[in-house]
């Protein structure tokens, strides 16, 4: 609702609409990102597949069921403890395919490079990209390079598009969670986000935090092949665990009850978050995922996952419930309950 100036002078003021220009917070993965997608893109570009907003689309081509996804990487700084923009661009897209039960096979990539970017750094990014492709068992089949003027990009932006073959039936999807299901996370939270943040200029933190950036297909595909197929899988990226859980709860029209004491958070991440007034449940990971599993086989699924090094810290963190569809409720460490909502914008460090 907006009032014109004359009305505003005599009646109650309302703030101007925040959606008039794009702000950085529109990219944070929270409510503002959703509003951008729902108010601008989906009405113009939406269709039955896109509207599902899953990590990757699943489509049938002849006898083949394939998954396709695309993602852009604009991380700053481009080199951070535990990874860089090259490896991240491979892992992120591989993981989005994997979350739909697909075996990632091929990538296409675009490198947008800012004038003045050192060739040595470009070499380093490309080398890291290549190594990540090898360790993720994917091949780069098409690529493009663009150079833009100084200031038109921040050093280098990478976009990757991935294709994989879906090998399981039914296909895990965000709208398949059911009351009674068990919610599992594959490892400790917040490492990637805090590794990037701690290495940013202006934050003199000496930590050993390394990004968890890693391909999840080596962990997930063998478990799927054993027949343990989650109803839904989502990798925990931008917006953190809280955002992913809210998206699943909304897509599936179910509630969720999460036990805070069960959520694994790296102690250093927890300490830095505490220092800055941030909540680790909203911090990005790049090698962790949430699985929603039928309670009847969740024990076996968890035990199998724990057998892999990448899944050794997997934990049950809660369950899907009928009450309050679309809502995630957290039982805090001391036993009180509160809503675990999506973020309104970016997490802003607290004053005191």
């Amino acid at each position: 609702m907006r009032l014109d100036d004359e009305e505003a002078a005599t009646s109650c003021r309302l703030p101007i609409s925040n959606s008039e220009i794009v702000k950085l917070a529109h990219g944070s993965g929270g409510k503002l990102s959703s509003s951008l997608i729902e108010s601008v893109f989906l009405p113009l570009l939406g269709n039955d597949v896109l509207n599902k907003q899953d990590d990757a689309a699943d489509i049938q081509i002849g006898d083949l069921k394939i998954a396709i996804t695309t993602d852009s990487y604009v991380v700053s700084p481009i080199f951070f403890p535990g990874g860089d923009i090259g490896s991240l661009a491979v892992h992120g897209t591989v993981n989005d395919l994997t979350m739909r039960g697909a075996k990632p096979l091929f990538l296409a990539a675009t490198f947008i490079i800012e004038e003045g970017f050192p060739i040595a750094d470009l070499h380093r990014v490309a080398d890291s990209f290549a190594q990540a492709c090898r360790s993720s068992d994917v091949s780069l089949l098409a690529a493009d390079t663009k150079v833009v003027g100084r200031g038109a990009a921040d050093k280098i932006f990478v976009t990757t598009t991935g294709i994989g073959i879906i090998a399981c039936d039914p296909v895990p999807a965000s709208d398949r969670a059911r009351a009674g299901d068990v919610i599992i996370v594959s490892g400790d939270l917040g490492l990637h986000g805090m590794a990037v943040m701690a290495s940013r200029e202006g934050l003199d933190l000496e930590t050993q935090i390394r990004s968890d950036s890693a391909p999840l297909n080596k962990l997930v595909l063998p478990i799927l092949q054993m027949g343990y197929i989650p109803r839904c899988m989502r990798d925990i990226t931008r917006g953190g665990l809280a955002t992913v859980l809210n998206e699943i709860a909304k897509s599936s029209s179910v509630g969720m009850l999460i036990e805070e004491n069960a959520i694994p958070v790296d102690p250093q991440v927890s300490a830095v978050c505490e220092l800055l007034g941030l909540d680790p449940l909203y911090v990005a990971c790049e090698g962790r995922f949430v699985a929603i599993m039928d309670a009847s086989c969740s024990d076996q699924f968890l035990a199998t996952m724990k057998g892999f090094p990448q899944g050794a810290q997997a934990r049950v963190i809660g369950r899907v419930v009928e009450e309050a569809p679309g809502r995630v409720v957290l039982k805090s460490t001391i036993g009180g309950r509160r809503i675990l909502d999506k973020l309104a914008g970016d997490q802003l460090p607290r004053i005191c």
Binding site: M1, S11, C12, R13, L14, P15, I16, S17, N18, I21, V22, K23, L24, A25, K31, L32, S35, G202, L203, G255, L257, N261, P267, S270, A271, E274, L276, G277, V321, E323, A324, R327, V329, L330, K331, S332, T333, I334, G335, G336, R337, R338, I339, D341, A344, G345, L348, P349, R350, I351, C352
Partner: protein
């Protein structure tokens, strides 16, 4: 983790909860002064552990919330100046002025940067001598020493391009002001632990004696707050009104003398306008005359007139503990963290934002 997990322990919380339930014989209203305490109470669902007779009132101790709109507008105007790098703690960026916020100003081209310490802003002043670096010095007595130090340092370095837009407020005058209101309903306070770690506790002892109200200086972890509630409740039940210090691991009687010294050198007391509460005499700091050249108000003298705030918003009554956010007709309707009508909806320490984020609905 040391000093964190121990203070979030469920068993200990349940024991304290039981003691509180045993001790209470009639309804009481206790106000936690600090936004940080409000945040903990709602983040941990702490009220679920309290008896229904005990009501927590959420106080005015969120510096972001009480900063007047005119000052936010001034900050935005300064930030838009071509040769200015405007620096601020993160929370302030999303606080709505009368036409936009600092994040929006940044999106439109202003150079607005989040810093984690004012000393980072001084570094920027050294790095960019041709720019004017303005730091938005907001906060209670907790942030004041570092902000004072930044001015002291800029002076020592001979910097002429570092300025602070000062909006410091102090806790004791607002507590007195609340207690002097004819409609005051506060019966005891949980005192501001971090403020007291700087300023010591004597000012609060005076308030206890003058207004006959129990004050328990409290920490910020759930166990701290539960223990402080129990201490305050026992005083209320016994008819006592003493100052007690629950947060002894951080607060000593005299406070941090070195910090107090820097503050008294750089700042002088002044009247402040509190958003939602109005002017309170000697309730904040401005730069002392000696440091006038670092004052952004002096460097950027254009006056910004006070503009009307939303007439629906009841943040004044919320800051005084008279009303709870769901009693506001705009709460979670026109007013949300994405479109805040009043500043209590903005900061992570603001009562409305905390209610919206943590308590919007219930599930059993």
């Amino acid at each position: 983790m040391k000093y964190q997990a121990e203070f979030r322990d469920r068993q200990l919380a349940e024991q304290l909860s039981l003691q509180i339930k045993k001790a209470i014989t009639r309804p009481w209203k206790i106000m936690e002064v600090c936004g940080g305490q409000t945040h903990t109470i709602l983040q941990f669902g702490l009220e679920d552990l309290l008896p229904s007779e005990l009501e927590l009132l959420h106080g005015p101790g969120c510096p972001v919330c009480v900063t007047p709109v005119s000052l936010i507008d001034k900050a935005i105007e300064i930030a838009k100046t071509a040769d200015v790098i405007f620096t601020s703690y993160g929370d302030m960026l999303r606080v709505p002025g009368s036409s936009c916020d600092l994040l929006q100003a940044r999106a439109l081209g202003a150079d607005v940067r989040i810093v984690y310490s004012p000393l980072d802003a001084v570094e920027l002043a050294k790095k960019y001598p041709s720019k004017r670096i303005v730091f938005f010095a907001v906060g209670f007595e907790t942030t004041a020493p570092a902000n004072a130090m930044s001015v002291h340092l800029a002076d020592k370095l001979g910097l002429t391009n570092y300025f602070v837009l000062c909006s410091h407020v102090t806790v004791p005058p607002v507590m007195s002001s609340l207690l002097e209101q004819p409609d005051n309903i506060v019966q005891a306070f949980l005192g501001p632990g971090h403020v007291c770690s700087i300023m010591g506790v004597e000012e609060y002892r005076e308030i206890c004696q003058r207004y006959k109200v129990p004050i328990v200086i409290s920490g910020f972890e759930p166990i701290d707050i539960l223990e402080a509630i129990l201490m305050a409740l026992l005083q209320l039940e016994r008819g006592e009104c003493r100052l007690e210090n629950q947060y002894a691991r951080a607060v000593v009687t005299a406070g941090n003398l070195h910090a107090q010294q820097v503050m008294s050198e750089v700042f002088s007391l002044s009247e402040r306008i509190w958003r939602g509460l109005g002017p309170i005499p000697e309730s904040g700091y401005r730069l002392a005359e000696k440091y006038r050249e670092f004052d952004a108000q002096n460097e950027f003298p254009e006056v910004i007139s006070e503009r009307a705030e939303s007439c629906i918003c009841i943040s004044g009554e919320i800051l005084r503990g008279l009303k709870k956010p769901p009693q506001c007709p705009a709460f979670a309707k026109e007013c949300t963290p994405e479109t805040p009508l009043g500043a209590t909806m903005v900061s992570s320490e603001g009562t409305c934002a905390n209610y919206y984020k943590f308590k919007n609905t219930q599930i059993n």
